[in-house]
């Protein structure tokens, strides 16, 4: 079944290749080289990395809770 918004005709292969590289470059610009690499890891490895990063930050006293405002930004 076609998902919402899914087009049968995708982008031509050459454009897709160029797009893939441009997206990677965007990740480097927006998130930095390390997170760009992490974002392109397989899911299990990515989750492991994020888990280690968050747990390390928590041990160092970083709080991740957002204020309970009764509404979501």
């Amino acid at each position: 079944m076609k998902k919402p918004g899914q087009s049968k005709k995708g982008l031509p292969p050459a454009v897709r290749r160029k797009l893939r590289q441009a997206i990677y470059d965007f990740h480097v610009r927006a998130f930095g080289e390390e997170m760009a690499r992490v974002n392109h890891l397989p899911l299990a490895a990515r989750r492991r990395y994020v888990a280690e990063m968050v747990d390390h930050a928590t041990q160092k006293g970083v709080k991740f809770d957002k204020p309970a405002l009764g509404v979501t930004p």
Partner: protein
């Protein structure tokens, strides 16, 4: 001696929240994890630990019942903070959020539940991917007033494009990507109707930068306006909950009963609707006009569809 609370690890929490979604769905409750944890799953990682959960408003009562039995580290959850709306379909439909936490304080187990995806232009239940809300829903939700959220929007849009979903173009806010690939949009008329600046992207028009800046600022203003409406509406309820002074040891059922009682008297069901969505949009445009080039206003999207789901 000071007892130091050991926070739950990320992996423990992730497993716990996914298990919660599985149990909820086994009861027929439509729900999905969204925001930060969904982003990690979609390949746009950030440091997050709390869980945002979308739940169909009509199933709020069922979900509350499930939460009442959901232990983590031997503890049951409780409501968090005096601003938290009760997990009840009436307020859920109106865009309120219910916040929960598992004891002991500092364990790091926080859960935010809401029924209406902020800025969602289509029903999120139609786009669920595994444990998570769909990319389109998550990307729309990330259009907040926080600058840090915007690279996530673009990255999610890019994922959609790679998966062959043309709606990804609605979420690309990176000028370089738009200029390079704007001409590759397959159905430009349809998408330009929803996002006029794609026309500028398609022709690599020099006005694109100003239009893009204006669009982002527009979403910032809309988010500020929406939050302001809710913040004002919640004050009498917050005072009532605070005055009630329920014991922190009270169970979830007792906490819920008290919040419903306070909400019935003091919490409007749908403040956004009461205020007027067209009025809110107009005020956001007026605020925007103070800070951007007038010519860029012509390229703003029609945002009404992003607030239709908030209507009763």
């Amino acid at each position: 001696m000071v007892n130091k609370v050991m926070p739950f690890s990320y992996a423990e929490l992730e497993k716990f929240y996914e298990g919660m979604v599985r149990r909820a769905r086994s009861r027929g409750i439509p729900c999905a994890i969204t925001s930060g944890m969904a982003c990690v799953a979609f390949g746009v990682s950030g440091a997050t630990k709390d869980c945002d959960l979308l739940c169909a408003p009509d199933w709020a009562g069922e979900l509350l019942d499930l939460l009442g039995h959901l232990r983590l580290g031997g503890h049951l959850p409780g409501y968090r903070g005096n601003l938290t709306a009760p997990l009840d379909a009436r307020w859920f439909r109106g865009g309120w959020t219910s916040h929960f936490e598992w004891a002991p304080a500092g364990s790091g187990a926080y859960l935010d539940i809401f029924g209406v995806a902020p800025r969602g232009s289509s029903p999120w239940v139609a786009e669920i991917r595994g444990f998570y809300a769909g990319l389109h829903t998550v990307a729309e939700m990330k259009r907040t007033q926080r600058d840090k959220d915007w690279p996530f929007v673009t990255a999610l849009g890019a994922k959609m494009l790679q998966a062959g979903d043309e709606r990804g173009w609605l979420h690309i806010f990176d000028e370089n990507l738009l200029r390079t690939f704007g001409a590759a949009v397959k159905e430009p008329e349809k998408l330009c109707l929803r996002r006029p600046l794609l026309e500028l992207a398609a022709t690599n028009d020099p006005r694109l930068r100003a239009a893009l800046r204006a669009e982002i600022e527009y979403w910032h203003e809309l988010d500020r306006a929406r939050l302001g409406i809710y913040e004002k509406a919640v004050r009498p309820y917050m005072v009532a909950v605070r005055k009630a002074g329920l014991s922190p040891a009270a169970g979830l059922v007792e906490q819920h009963g008290l919040r419903v009682k306070c909400a019935e008297r003091h919490l409007p069901l749908n403040p956004l609707h009461d205020y007027g969505i067209p009025r809110m949009i107009l005020e956001a445009r007026e605020a925007l006009a103070q800070i951007i080039q007038p010519a860029a206003m012509a390229w703003l999207p029609n945002v009404s569809e992003h607030f239709n789901l908030s209507a009763p």
